[in-house]
Symmetry: C2
Subunit: 460 residues, 2 copies
């Protein structure tokens, strides 16, 4: 039990303060995708800046550039000890559809053991775990067990341009031995979890242009091309009705998970029927034939359409043939797919599908590869031990279907592994209405990270 | 030349007043599809009520009911003369997309020979022609050459429920010999035109429900159904990539146009290349193979999607799998298709296409059959003569791909033919941004309708 009792006492006696502080952060609508929220994003950055200063980190500053700023702070007064790069993000997804929220997305509300707000779990609540774990050591013990660099970005939900530039520019000079990221989830309530694999992502906008201007479907229906119908044809040409992606070559580079990994997944407390009933609630799970749901979500590429703009979607009947339609389409990539090559294959496929009378173009908004961290990495092994001690159960290793592009950046440019400790729960409504965070996980997470820092400081 | 010179003089000396009065009507955003514009729709009805009173019609009133009111007025002081039912509509389509309008849709603006505003041609401008033609006779001559009933509806762009109930309830007791409608267009500038055939319409909303709530595409992509992708599959199952409708039975009832009608169409000043270049502006015209563009637009059924709601269409990247998607889909019907049977066939087809993991349902918002008026009807023959005299060219008979359901109502319940004199132009941007009306057609239209009333009063 390496954690200083005074630190543990600090964590336990400050739970109310931690929750109130998190609420203040959640009240800031720091939606990075929407330019009208630029000032709010900056406000969230400054809020964290104050917090890092207050706990006693050094060199605290905003790293500014063309996008939303990075928040940086460090504590490098443990010579001979490892340096951990602590990463989180303070930006959030747009909250729409607003009318499905029980309480407003930026009015954090406690109901039962949960706190509801946009960003509660992704990622303000989990970023807060990291900061409060540091605060406990610094305030109760006057020092950290190891060296730490804190780097919090404000563009995780968009293109992550600022942190990409920051990491690419510094490379090995980033000066850290590993990164700690809390932006994933526990496989099941109470089950300590480390995520070893993440899918990459390509995000695109496909535009179909038909006529020069919107036309009346009575007068021109039967002669003018309809970009919405054309978009439907393109989407059906990108993925078949069973869930197979039709972009040529997309499955060729895919690395299958090892037999050991497949066996571990099979032993997880997971049942497709329960997932269908409790999490999804549709008439059936769907996807690529011949694969389990975990395989489809964790180790297979997927393609999804997120929205189609064009024409009339208001109340009642408008008989327009829109001049233009735009679809937002993403792909998730798995090891060893090349992000750039896959993006190009998508662009080429859409072009090849160009329907009669229409012009198509595809804009790639983001492209990042998948990542995989070895489970025998010493930073992972100690994280698993810290989690086990805090939750009283052996830690499980899973993958996630989601994407955290910075993991690939840290690997590729700084040459460091990322440890993904996650404290979200499967029903936390990530990116959806009524996003929440399980408050006991906030407190247990702070203790687990506090223990991890102590463990990392032990032997080095 | 049956038109009283004093009436003609009134028309010519009041052109500025007519234009200013039309502008006042166009300023009212009477969008019948949007409930938040209910008060505006009523304001437009009251505006017309005042106008009918001011010109000296009798029995002027609003016919109220569950929907937007009808505006009614009559003048029945010409015993032994025919009674003409004069029809127009004061409601308009929604103006979106707003950013494509050069001047705001409800700030009527004259540029060159045109007046730009939502409703300029459809149908406030053309309704204004009818009213000002009556006004000229009443003000300059103190009487009308025939009996007239004016009936102006406020639901033409939605379901037309009020006028349908009104006509169905009265049947033959509507007490008119024919209807005059100005809600169509001239085949080419300067070419007087009567539209003898209109397509019917089915307007539907197709809803696809997948998961219970919006889901994150990283975490659930590959397992949860995507209603937008499912909608794309349904749309591709309703119409093939060449433009053939895939709803079973849809082509079976279709009546082909007569050889005489086909010959007349072939002699019209129409060139598909010019239509492509001047009106549509896409890379090609599209539609059912083996048919000319005029056939496809006038005498063949079509199916169009007007908008797809669901997911995220804002700025940037949001990785959501929406719980639900809704598409607005219409079909245009031709003689002798049955509207109710075709609507049911559409509903059945969508159900048969239900994708895995999703529930689909189809709501029919409107269903009306096509109509065809004989060219040798005496009311049509005199209309053609009045147009020829006003425009100095022989009148051509065409069909329109659009739908004016009231024509079918007048035929079916009141047993009267409708005369469709149209003064719009092919580039008037009906239902689209920058809708306009050619001001010389406003003035010539008033004279043509004035002459038509005089001609109808001559021999009876």
């Amino acid at each position: 039990m390496p954690l200083d009792p005074q630190v543990l006492d600090y964590y336990r006696s400050h739970q109310t303060d931690f929750l109130e502080g998190l609420k203040d952060l959640l009240r800031i609508p720091s939606i990075s995708a929407l330019s009208e929220h630029k000032a709010d994003v900056l406000e969230a950055a400054n809020f964290l800046l104050s917090d890092l200063n207050a706990m006693g980190l050094e060199g605290v500053r905003l790293v500014e550039g063309s996008g939303h700023p990075l928040v940086y702070g460090e504590w490098l007064n443990a010579p001979g000890k490892p340096t951990l790069l602590i990463y989180g993000h303070y930006d959030v997804q747009p909250p729409e559809p607003l009318d499905e929220w029980v309480s407003p997305p930026f009015d954090p509300t406690v109901r039962g053991d949960n706190i509801y707000a946009r960003g509660a779990v992704d990622d303000k609540g989990q970023t807060w775990i990291l900061l409060k774990a540091l605060e406990g050591h610094l305030k109760a013990d006057g020092r950290l067990p190891i060296n730490v660099k804190v780097l919090i970005e404000g563009e995780e939900e968009v293109d992550g341009g600022m942190i990409a530039a920051y990491v690419e520019e510094r490379g090995k000079d980033l000066g850290a031995d590993a990164a700690l990221i809390c932006d994933t989830e526990m496989f099941a309530p109470g089950l300590p979890t480390i995520t070893t694999g993440l899918r990459g992502i390509i995000y695109s906008e496909i535009e179909v242009q038909g006529a020069r201007t919107d036309l009346h479907s009575g007068l021109y229906g039967g002669a003018a091309p309809n970009p919405l119908q054309a978009m439907a044809e393109i989407l059906c040409g990108l993925k078949d009705s069973e869930g197979r992606i039709l972009v040529p070559g997309v499955y060729e580079a895919v690395a299958e998970p090892s037999d050991a990994e497949k066996e571990a997944w099979a032993s997880l407390p997971f049942d497709e029927g329960e997932m269908l009933a409790n999490e999804v609630g549709s008439t059936a799970l769907t996807g690529e034939p011949g694969r389990t749901a975990l395989e489809r979500m964790w180790s297979r590429p997927t393609l999804e359409v997120h929205g189609i703009r064009g024409g009339f979607v208001g109340e009642g009947a408008k008989t327009v043939i829109p001049a233009k339609a735009v679809a937002k389409v993403s792909m998730r990539l798995v090891p060893d797919m090349d992000a750039a090559a896959t993006a190009q294959a998508l662009v080429d496929r859409v072009k090849a599908l160009e329907p009669a009378g229409c012009r198509v173009s595809t804009r790639i908004l983001a492209a990042s590869a998948a990542s995989l961290t070895p489970t025998d990495d010493p930073f992972v092994v100690k994280a698993a031990a810290a989690l086990q001690e805090s939750f009283g159960k052996p830690t499980v290793y899973i993958r996630s279907g989601g994407s955290i592009p910075v993991v690939g950046l840290f690997q590729r440019f700084a040459g460091i592994p990322s440890v993904l400790m996650g404290f979200g729960l499967p029903d936390d409504n990530l990116h959806a209405p009524n996003e929440k965070f399980h408050i006991p996980n906030l407190y247990a997470g702070i203790e687990a990270v506090g223990r991890y820092l102590a463990l990392l400081g032990e032997d080095s």
